[in-house]
């Protein structure tokens, strides 16, 4: 398990591994928004939490098809399936590696990009917290989508279409935590719901992903 995690992280940071792609995309999206909506600082302050969440979500989506497709193409998944690792463990480690290489950099970059969007002073902490709690769910749900579309040629678009609706609850509660935090309101309720979604997804979806993967490997 640790070997698989270490290998995935190593592959991500080597040439062509795609580390930083999501982060660069996130940066560009957040920089483009002020150009699009114009230089009204009050408006930017109001939409900043939502923009940061949507940017992070799309950046996360960008790298989902790499989670399993590369290992499927070169036969690694077949060999892993015959190795003494439970399939549930394999998909969990894959999701964790995706979170470390994509989700975690987004979490850390979001407060910095908040400056560009004139985020309210109280919002920085809650943007960070909501993304830290919410992005693991994005990786786990994305791994499930990747398992569903494995083996399909050009499955990337289908993967996005399948996964985006599943991201809706995470987005709603995540952006709500960030918005309430920025406006200085109580954040406990949406934060608890966001945590519930994240932990629920982490606990249950690996079983679904593993089952789907076993069928797709046949």
């Amino acid at each position: 398990m640790m070997a698989l995690l270490a290998r995935d992280l190593k592959l991500a940071v080597r040439a062509g591994g795609g580390f930083g792609l999501g982060l660069a995309f996130f940066l560009i999206v957040t920089v483009l928004v002020p150009f699009g909506v114009g230089p009204e600082t009050a408006l930017l302050t109001r939409i900043a939490p939502g923009v940061l969440w949507i940017g992070a979500l799309l950046a996360c989506l960008l790298s989902l098809d790499r989670i399993l497709a590369l290992d499927w193409e070169d036969g690694t998944l077949d060999l892993l399936a015959t190795a003494p690792l439970p399939m549930e463990g394999i998909v969990s480690v894959k999701a964790l590696a995706h979170w470390i290489t994509t989700g975690l950099p987004l979490v850390l970059a979001a407060p910095v990009l908040g400056v560009l969007l004139n985020l309210a002073p109280g919002g920085y902490l809650w943007v960070l917290v909501s993304l830290a709690v919410g992005t693991p769910a994005l990786s786990v749900i994305g791994t499930f989508g990747a398992a569903l579309t494995i083996g399909l040629k050009r499955g990337g678009l289908l993967l996005s279409l399948l996964v985006l609706p599943l991201y809706v609850p995470t987005l709603i509660f995540g952006a709500e935590v960030a918005r309430r935090g920025a406006e200085g309101l109580e954040v406990a309720t949406p934060l608890l719901l966001l945590g519930g979604i994240s932990f629920g997804a982490m606990a249950l979806l690996p079983f679904a992903s593993a089952a789907v993967l076993r069928i797709n490997l046949r």
């Binding site: 080597r14 070169d74 036969g75 077949d78 015959t82 190795a83 690792l85 046949r218």
Partner: protein, 204 residues
């Protein structure tokens, strides 16, 4: 551990390809599967490896003592030869890769990225992976594809060494490896009979 396959029926794409396949593979023995393209060699090997479910029949003794090598080698082009092997060794809870590197003449390539190897060298690395797993039963699908004569010799020597240590090998190959101890099983004899009552045709 004896690998025993009894009365196995397998299908590919919903169509039965083989039925009544039975054989046993004792430690120290090798069995070579033969048969024309499409007869079901790969499907049979994938079923034995547990990647596919059998329609009927039973497989015992595989599972935890089996190492599978399919058409693709599962190599990462951005990892070096040694890193690839170390990864697979670690997955199987081991760390020793020197013997495997030596057996397939990969020592000098150990520091090279797997992506820069030739097709035959990649295949040798894929086969070396079997040795680092430490598993007793090797299940091999066309192991000699893209190997030159010298490499086939290395592979035959590795298989012979594996058998001598009490391992066993089940493989689909058309090349004569010169393994005197290997038995040959022709799968054409087990072709599934076309059935009248299969699918929609039954309603016609």
């Amino acid at each position: 551990m004896v690998l025993r396959v009894s009365n196995l029926e397998i299908s590919r794409g919903g169509r039965a390809v083989l039925e009544g396949v039975s054989f046993a593979l004792a430690p120290g023995a090798a069995l070579i599967l033969r048969g024309p393209n499409g007869v079901g060699k790969t499907t049979l090997l994938r079923t034995v490896a547990g990647l596919q479910e059998a329609e009927a029949g039973e497989i015992t003794g595989a599972g935890e003592s089996m190492a599978y090598a399919g058409h693709s080698d599962g190599l990462k082009s951005m990892l070096t030869v040694a890193e690839n092997l170390q990864f697979w060794a670690a997955v199987f809870g081991r760390s020793e890769i020197e013997a495997a590197l030596a057996a397939f003449d990969l020592r000098e390539l150990a520091g090279r990225l797997a992506g820069s190897l030739s097709a035959g060298q990649k295949r040798r690395l894929g086969l070396a992976r079997l040795m680092v797993t430490g598993r007793a039963i090797w299940v091999l699908d066309e192991p000699t594809v893209s190997l030159d004569a010298a490499s086939v010799g290395l592979f035959a020597a590795a298989v012979r060494g594996h058998l001598a240590q009490g391992g066993s090998a089940l493989m689909a190959t058309h090349i004569d490896l010169g393994l005197e101890e290997a038995a040959v099983l022709d799968l054409s004899a087990f072709r599934a009979r076309p059935r009248a009552a299969q699918g929609d045709e039954a309603f016609l």
